[in-house]
Amino acid sequence: MPVLEVRNIRKTFGRTEVLKGIDFSLDKGEALSVIGSSGSGKTTLLRCLNFLERPDAGSITVNGEVLLDCADASTLRESEIRRKRLHFGLVFQSFNLFPQYTALENVLLAPRLLAKENHEQFADKERLNAEARELFADIGLSDRMNNYPHQLSGGQQQRVAIARALIMHPDILCFDEPTSALDPELTGEVLKVIRKLSEQNTTMIIVTHEMEFARDVADKVIFMDGGVICEQGNPREVFSHPKEERTKQFLSRYSQN
């Protein structure tokens, strides 16, 4: 049974139909990269999965539980969105760390707040702190835990943002162009962390413009164009022998650069 099943997701903003029926599924431990030009709907898709946008149609199923089915009003209740959201994590393009908290506090804020509401998962303070420390070791920032975001480079901030998402133990971790706001030098350190996550079989969806990375890390790739999935499959196939004309065009632009 797949971890994630997305069926016929549609989303319209005003008169623009951004997603025109997206279907895909993801198995546990798989990394999926989503590529496509700007405006193809990649980010909107991630935002729908994280309940930051509500799709107009379609369904999202995680581990067999229907989290959202636009045809079934009982799945659309505001009050349950918060719980459902925790199946997903999201790392933003612009990091969005909380500036008034240190790196460590950024990672601990949400679990601490949830612990106060008797979420048993985070109740053990010692374990939570130990886990945060482990995460900082994993992202190579043990010595920067007590720095404020503005004292960190963009690459370091993004790594903290990844740790902040990981401590919530999402079933599926989403990355929305995690390196687009970084210069090439800092891109590498973030990609390294994501690569390590995929080696540990973290289930991930990565929206990215880093083609080489998308090919190397992913078990599966989706090429989106104009709000539809134009082509999907094994990365080696899609990148080396794209079937669709549109995919060829898109990839050739990248290989030229």
Partner: protein, 228 residues
């Protein structure tokens, strides 16, 4: 010179009494208007159109009319129009009426500053909180609020300094604040009459107090400098 030296302690004593009333009005206004302003800001930002329109309307009325008239209306309207003089005639009644008028007036100004401050916090901050499973309330108090405060310290400082001087308007309903006390020496008070210098001298009180306020607010601004 001799009369001045004779008058000085008498005048200072009287002005001190008036200034205590000034400070009380100042403090009560801040204590009331800080939270009420936030409530009004939430109203302005509400997605329920009726609520945001209602608060916009109130803000329009309060900011669009002189505080002096608002003081007169709050103080005299219950007694003269409703024939229910809720404030009584004494200094305490005048103080309560003045406090109410000032709190309403200043919370409207504060609310607009708060609103700007809340809107200036990037939406990504709220979204980051949401995807981490935080409630909107948790996000506001743990993420947005301090960032908003940092941004609004300069404009709020302006309002606070204006408030120190605006308290003088309460004289219109005969609240015995410092200007009232200074002016009394013109007509005659504590055995002194026809003296205008005590009125001028009140400016010194405002100046010193605003100096202290300015230093404290600058300190707060520096304190919030630890993050960006």
């Amino acid at each position: 010179m001799e009369t001045f030296l004779h008058q000085l302690p008498i005048v200072v004593n009287a002005l001190n009494v008036g200034f205590v009333q000034t400070l009380k009005l100042f403090a009560v206004t801040l204590l009331g208007a800080f939270p009420l302003g936030l409530l009004i800001a939430f109203g302005s930002l509400s997605k329920i159109r009726a609520v945001s329109m209602f608060t916009s309307f109130i803000i329009w009325i309060i900011r669009g009319t002189p505080l002096m008239i608002q003081l007169l209306i709050v103080y005299y309207f219950p007694g003269l129009v409703l024939h229910n003089p809720i404030w009584g005639g004494g200094e305490q009644g005048r103080f309560l009426a003045a406090s109410l008028a000032f709190i309403i007036n200043y919370s409207c100004y504060f609310s607009e500053i708060y609103r700007g401050g809340i809107l200036s916090v990037p939406v990504g901050q709220t979204e980051a909180g949401l995807v981490l499973g935080m409630t909107k309330r948790q996000i506001f108090f743990n993420v947005t609020l301090l960032q908003m405060i940092k941004r609004i310290v300069p404009p709020i400082s302006n309002e606070i300094i204006t408030l120190v001087k605006d308290t003088a308007l309460a004289r219109i309903i005969a609240l015995q604040e410092i200007i009232w006390a200074g002016q009394a020496f013109m007509k005659g008070s504590h055995g002194i009459s026809g003296a205008i210098w005590p009125l001028f001298f009140t400016a010194f009180y405002y100046l010193v107090f605003n100096g202290i306020v300015t230093v404290l607010l600058a300190r707060l601004e520096r304190k919030l400098d630890y993050f960006r």
